[in-house]
Symmetry: C3
Subunit: 263 residues, 3 copies
C-alpha cells in the first residue's frame, strides 16, 4: 500500500460518500462543514430509531464522545454494530479520555464492543486508552508530546490504527508507521479542529476502507495542507477558522502528494 | 396578493417579531444568526415545560427535524398545538425525510397533528412527503431536480404551501405558483443554508401570516439576493458563510423587489 | 481591590485555567472559541456521571440556561455543588429569565441551591431575578436600559455580584460599583455574545476568585475592547463575528488598562 492523497481526494469528490457522524454538540456544525468542504456528504443522526438504518448506508461512521451522555453512547453502539455488520469503517474520537472516568470507560466500551478501524486523538487521550499515564486538562493534552512509539504501542494494544495528532502526527497500525508534519499552530486556537481531523479521516476511510493506515495518514496530510493554506489568509483564530473551509474546498488533488510532509 | 419583499423586510426590521425555533443541533447558531441578521429576534426553546408559553407569544414557529429524537418531537407537537391555538404560523423543515423511516414518519406525524402553513425542503424531502419515489443521500437530494409540478402536487397532497428549494426554487399553494431564480451555488457548500431559508421563511410569515405563499416566496428572494451579494465577497465556503450574515444585515429594502428573479 | 485587566489577562494566558461550561446548544462552539481565543481552556461536559469530577478540577464553572431541560438543570446542580465544595467560582447566565416561568424558576433554583459568585445577564433578566417588572422578548431585553441602581439592587437581593450588560455595563456587589462603556453595537447583531461575556467572566474569575466584582468588570473591559477592535475589521455581523476571535486572541495586556472606559 502506498499513500495517494490526491487520488483519494479526487475519489471523495467524485463519489461523495455519506459520512454518518454521532458527535458532540460543540463541533457538529464545524465537522459537517469540513466534511462538505472536502467534498463528502455529512449526516448527523443520533436517534435509536434511525441510527442503524443511517449507518448501514453510510460510507463511514464517525463516533465522537466530546459531550457524551448515556443515550448517545447507546446510539453509538447501535450505529456501530450496524456499521460493522455492513462493513462500514468506523473512526472513533475519544475526546477527553483520561479527563474523567466516564469518558475513559466509554471510550473503552466502544473499543471493546465495536470493530473500530481508526482511533484519532491527542497524545493524552491515546496514551490513556493504551493504559499509560497521561496528563490532560479538560480535553487538551498537556503532557509530553507524542512520539512514534506511542502510536505503535496504542495500535497494538487496541487492535486498530492509532492516529495521534500533535505538532507532528503519528499514525500506526502496529506494524507500518507514518509521521505527518503538515499543519499549522493556528489549529490549536480553534475548538474542534481535532474533531474535524476525525471527520476527514472518516471521509478518506469511505473511499479506502481496505487501507485504514493509509486513509488515516492521507486525511491528516489533506487537513494539514489546508491548514497551511488557511494560515496564509488569517489574522487570528476567527479568520483562520473561516479560511480553513475555503482551503479544504480549494485543495488541489494535483499537487497534494508533493506537498505532503510524510516520513 | 402580490409580492412586496422590500416592504415586508422593512416590517420585519420595524416589528422585530420573535421567531421560536425548535431545530437541530447542527444549525442552531446559524439559524439564530440568520434570523438576527435579517432583523427578527430568534429564540430557541425545547423543554416541554416552556414550549407552549414561548410559542404562544411568538410571531412564527419553526420546526426542523434535522437531529430529531423522541423528546424533541413531543416538544414540537406541544409547541405546534400552542401555536395553532394562537394563530401563530408554523413552518416545517422535514430534514432528511426519505433518508430513514423515522424521519419520514416524524414529518408525517407533524403534518398530520398540526396545521402547518409552509413546508420548506429540498426536492427529495418534499417528494417523499408527497408520496413519490425520491433519491436522498443523508440529507442531500441526489435525484432529479424539482420542477413546478412537484411543488403544486405536494401543496395539494399536504394541504399547505410547499416551498421546494434548489437551483430554482418552486413555491405553490396548490393553485398559485412562483419560481425564484435568486441564489448562488455556494449555498450548497455550507451546511444549514436550507435550514436558514426555513428560518427566514418564519420571519416573513411573522409579518405576513395571511399570505403564506407570498411570505415563503419573499423569504427565498431575500435569502437568494443575500447569497448573491455574499458570493461577491467570498473565496470559498468559509468566507461565504461569514459574508452571508453581512449580506442579510445589509439587504436594502429599497432595491429588493427589482432584484427579484421571480416568475 | 483595584482593576488590573492587563495583569489578569496575562495570568489567564500563563496559567490556562480550565473553564467548565454547562451551556446552551446555540453557543457552545462560540463560547468555547472565545475562551480559547482569550487564552483559557474550555471544556463542555453535562453527563451526571462526570460533571462533579470535571467541575472539581476546573478553575471556574459557567452555568447557562439558554436551552435548558430537566436533565441539564440537574447536571448544573451536581456540578455546582462540586464546584462549591472545591471553592471553584461559579458564574450564572440566566438566559431568558422572565420570558417563561420555567426559565425564571430554574434561574432561581440555581441561585437558591448554589453559592454563585457572579450573575451575568441583560437588564430584563437581572430585573426579573431581582423581583421587578421587566420586558423581555425571547431572550432579548426590550425594556428600559439598565442603570447602576439595578445592578446594586440585584446584587443585594441575590447575594452575589450582578453584572448587567447593555450599551453601558453595570457591575455591583451591593457595595462597590463599576460602569463599563467599552463595547460596540455590532455585539447585538451576533447571537451568543452575551454568553461569550459570561464565559469570559469565568476566565477572569478563575485567576481572581477572591475579587468577583473586579473579575466580572475586567471581563467586560477585555471583551468590550476586543469588540471595538473587531468592529474595525468588520463589514457586518458575519465578519464581525470572525474578527471578534481574532481580537480576543490579539488583546495586548500592555495597553489594556489604558483602554478601559470604566467609572
Amino acid at each position: 500500500m502506498s499513500l495517494q492523497t490526491g487520488a483519494d481526494l479526487r475519489a471523495i469528490r467524485e463519489r461523495k460518500p455519506l459520512v454518518h457522524q454521532i458527535t458532540n454538540y460543540v463541533v457538529m456544525n464545524e465537522t459537517a462543514n469540513a466534511t462538505l468542504a472536502l467534498g463528502a456528504l455529512p449526516v448527523m443522526a443520533h436517534a435509536p430509531q434511525e441510527v442503524e438504518e443511517m449507518a448501514a448506508v453510510a460510507g463511514a461512521l464517525v463516533l465522537n464522545i466530546g459531550t457524551l451522555s448515556e443515550h448517545w453512547v447507546e446510539a453509538m453502539l447501535l450505529a456501530g454494530q450496524a456499521a460493522n455488520a455492513g462493513s462500514v469503517p468506523i473512526v472513533l474520537d475519544p475526546v477527553g479520555a483520561g479527563a474523567t472516568r466516564y469518558r475513559t470507560m466509554t471510550a473503552q466500551r466502544l473499543l471493546d464492543g465495536l470493530d473500530i478501524a481508526v482511533v484519532r486523538g491527542n497524545a493524552a487521550e491515546i496514551a490513556t486508552l493504551a493504559g499509560r499515564e497521561a496528563q490532560i486538562r479538560g480535553v487538551e493534552s498537556v503532557g509530553a508530546e507524542a512520539g512514534p512509539e506511542l502510536a505503535q504501542a496504542a495500535a497494538r494494544a487496541l487492535g486498530c490504527v492509532a492516529s495521534v495528532t500533535g505538532p507532528v502526527d503519528h499514525i500506526s497500525d502496529g506494524e507500518g508507521q507514518y509521521a505527518v508534519a503538515n499543519g499549522h499552530e493556528l489549529l490549536g486556537t480553534v475548538t474542534g479542529t481535532g474533531c474535524m481531523a476525525t471527520a476527514i479521516t472518516g471521509c478518506f476511510l469511505a473511499v479506502r476502507a481496505g487501507a485504514p493506515l493509509e486513509a488515516a495518514t492521507e486525511a491528516l496530510v489533506a487537513f494539514g495542507v489546508a491548514a497551511e493554506d488557511a494560515a496564509g489568509e488569517a489574522r487570528g483564530p476567527g479568520t483562520f477558522h473561516a479560511a480553513l473551509y475555503d482551503a479544504l474546498a480549494g485543495l488541489d488533488p494535483e499537487g497534494l502528494d508533493a506537498r505532503a510532509k510524510v516520513e
